[in-house]
């Protein structure tokens, strides 16, 4: 076991104070997360007691004021919208990072990056508003009524692409310059350098970018609420409206009472579970990969 006093070598008083206060802050940060989870459990406890966990899967549909609490279709909504966005945004983000680094002239590259940084800073409600006013009517003309899984996927793609691009860009910038010089000296073409050297060495960084984007897409609420249509159903194709778990909470929480309210906290708990599941899967994949590449 690590001894708590001996990992600070200095015996000076100020060092002791510093290390103590830093530990205190770290414990607080960790404690807050535990508190959030505890709060979610506490608030959804009436639902777990009164309704029972199985009914969130086995009820015919979601009519909370009518005692019907199925959450499955919203879990699907969240998963499909997130997966779709990650599938679109990953190639877009990584390719634009590569473009910025290896293909674009320096001036263009700098401006391009600025633009993407700006895109990353736009609040989600603005994306949602734009989606509602521009994107949804466009999709509506093509495939009525318009608010749909497709609109959600596109908006989320726009929102997480900058994250993926910027993190990829940063990790590509950390590739040792010697690698690039060596591959040039060996006569690699630009693309085979990217494919055989850059991408393998930056794999972890790209992965982190995708993970961050994924987390943002899972938790996004406002934009999705505005463009997805929010009809509770498991979508059968891309142009069906869907409701995500986050949208469900935002739509109904303001006026929910009693069991309905507890059921909404339950959807928060489901979302939390999804995030834990996705992040831990991603982490374990990452460890496997590190192991393989370390061999």
């Amino acid at each position: 076991m690590i001894s708590f006093s001996s990992n600070t070598l200095s015996r000076s008083r100020s060092d002791f104070l510093l290390s103590e206060s830093v530990r205190l802050l770290a414990l607080t940060a960790g404690g807050l997360l535990l508190l959030v989870v505890a709060f979610l459990f506490h608030e959804s406890w009436p639902a777990l007691q009164g309704i029972g966990l199985s009914r969130f899967f086995s009820d015919p549909d979601w009519y909370p004021t009518d005692n019907s609490y199925r959450l499955t279709s919203m879990v699907w909504g969240t998963l499909l919208a997130t997966t779709g966005a990650v599938l679109f945004a990953t190639p877009l983000g990584i390719l634009s990072a590569l473009f910025c680094h290896f293909y674009a002239p320096p001036l263009l590259s700098r401006w391009y990056r600025r633009m993407v940084e700006l895109l990353a800073g736009i609040p989600s409600v603005v994306f949602g508003f734009w989606g509602l006013m521009v994107l949804v009517p466009l999709i509506g003309r093509w495939h009525p009524p318009g608010p749909s899984l497709m609109a959600g996927v596109l908006i989320l793609t726009l929102m997480i692409m900058p994250t993926i691009m910027l993190v990829s860009h940063a990790s590509i910038a950390h590739v040792p310059i010697a690698y690039i010089h060596t591959t040039s000296a060996l006569g690699f073409s630009r693309w085979s350098m990217i494919w055989h050297v850059i991408l393998p060495t930056t794999k972890m960084g790209l992965f982190t970018g995708i993970l961050l984007g994924l987390a943002r897409a899972l938790g996004e609420t406002m934009a999705v609420l505005m463009v997805c249509g929010n009809v509770v159903q498991t979508p059968s194709h891309l142009f069906d409206p869907v409701r995500t778990l986050t949208a469900n909470i935002a739509l109904e929480m303001a006026y929910a009472l009693g069991d309905h309210r507890a059921a909404l906290f339950m959807s928060g708990l489901f979302l939390m579970g999804l995030v834990v599941l996705v992040v831990s899967t991603a982490e374990s994949l990452r460890h496997q990969n590190t192991y393989v590449s370390a061999k």
Binding site: S5, L24, L32, D66, M133, P145, A254, Y255
Partner: protein, 280 residues
């Protein structure tokens, strides 16, 4: 682990948990016990009345306003049985309730909205019902262009949804919606962006937006125009009075509260909930 280290570690944990517990959690029961007003009833009115109650509490220190929900019928039953001081009913008093004393504090009215480009001028009640239950799916059936109707419905728990379903004798399961919206503004934006959409929102917001260049049109219902005035007069069919009910004509603290709830001092709270206040 040597004892002093263990001691410091424990101390640290205790300290952290105290910091976390000291965060501003609200204990509603921890307030000073004083005179209490118990108000129960309509869940439509509860958010409004509890906001009014909070403002009343700050103006009258030592008085506690306790708002509980359970539906208009519970509000009436509770004052009849003496369990509450004031009942909330989001409807007018029925004929067998005339021995009670009711004071209207605001009106709730909703309007059907269409896109401005939609040529349909008026819809009969049963046409609207058929559109929302999915038996009419094309505007050409009701005198419009040949285009599929996009039905916009409200999310569960909202009073607008409840009033709408009540008026058209529908249950939420009967409604075949294409879009489900949360607040009024979102509904208006959805209809303004889709020429084939039909939706319903609170009249106050709709009238404000329609007169400020947003592309929606308010439909008359049973030939009565959808305006704030017709709602205030109680003439518009899709509206209801929000009533505070007492067992006997209000007196004392109860009267002070009801007069306060009817006064212009709470108009901002009423408008924030998209209801229509009594006076201009």
């Amino acid at each position: 682990m040597p004892f002093p280290v263990f001691f410091i570690f424990t101390l640290r944990i205790i300290l952290v948990s105290h910091i976390l517990w000291a965060l501003p959690w609200e204990y509603p029961n921890a307030r000073a016990e004083g005179e209490r007003l118990i108000i129960t009833g309509s869940s439509t009115m509860a958010p409004l009345v509890s906001e009014i109650g909070k403002r009343f509490e700050t103006l009258h220190p030592g008085i506690r306003v306790d708002v509980q929900t359970g539906g208009s019928s519970r509000g009436i039953a509770d004052i009849v049985n003496g369990l509450a001081d004031i009942g909330m009913a989001s409807r007018a008093l029925k004929s067998q309730e005339q021995h009670l004393s009711g004071s209207v504090i605001a009106h709730d009215g909703i309007t059907i909205i269409l896109h401005t480009s939609n040529p349909v001028q008026e819809l009969a009640d049963d046409q609207i019902r058929s559109i929302y239950t999915g038996s009419i799916t094309n505007w050409s059936h009701v005198g419009g262009p040949d285009a599929a109707i996009t039905v916009v419905n409200k999310a569960e728990g909202r009073s607008t949804l409840e009033l709408f379903l009540d008026y058209f004798h529908l249950s939420n399961r009967d409604v075949h919606a294409h879009v489900v919206i949360g607040d009024n503004e979102q509904g208006i934006k959805t209809v303004a962006g889709n020429p084939n959409a039909i939706g319903y929102v609170s009249i106050g917001t709709a009238q404000y937006d329609a007169t400020h260049g947003i592309g929606i049109r308010l439909l008359s219902l049973q030939h009565i125009p959808a305006t704030i005035e017709t709602v205030r007069e109680g003439r518009f069919p899709l509206s209801r009075p929000l009533t505070l009910v007492t067992k006997s004509p209000p007196a004392g603290l109860i009267k002070t509260f009801i007069v306060f709830a009817q006064s212009p001092q709470v108009h901002d709270l009423i408008l924030k909930q998209y209801f229509v206040p009594l006076q201009e």
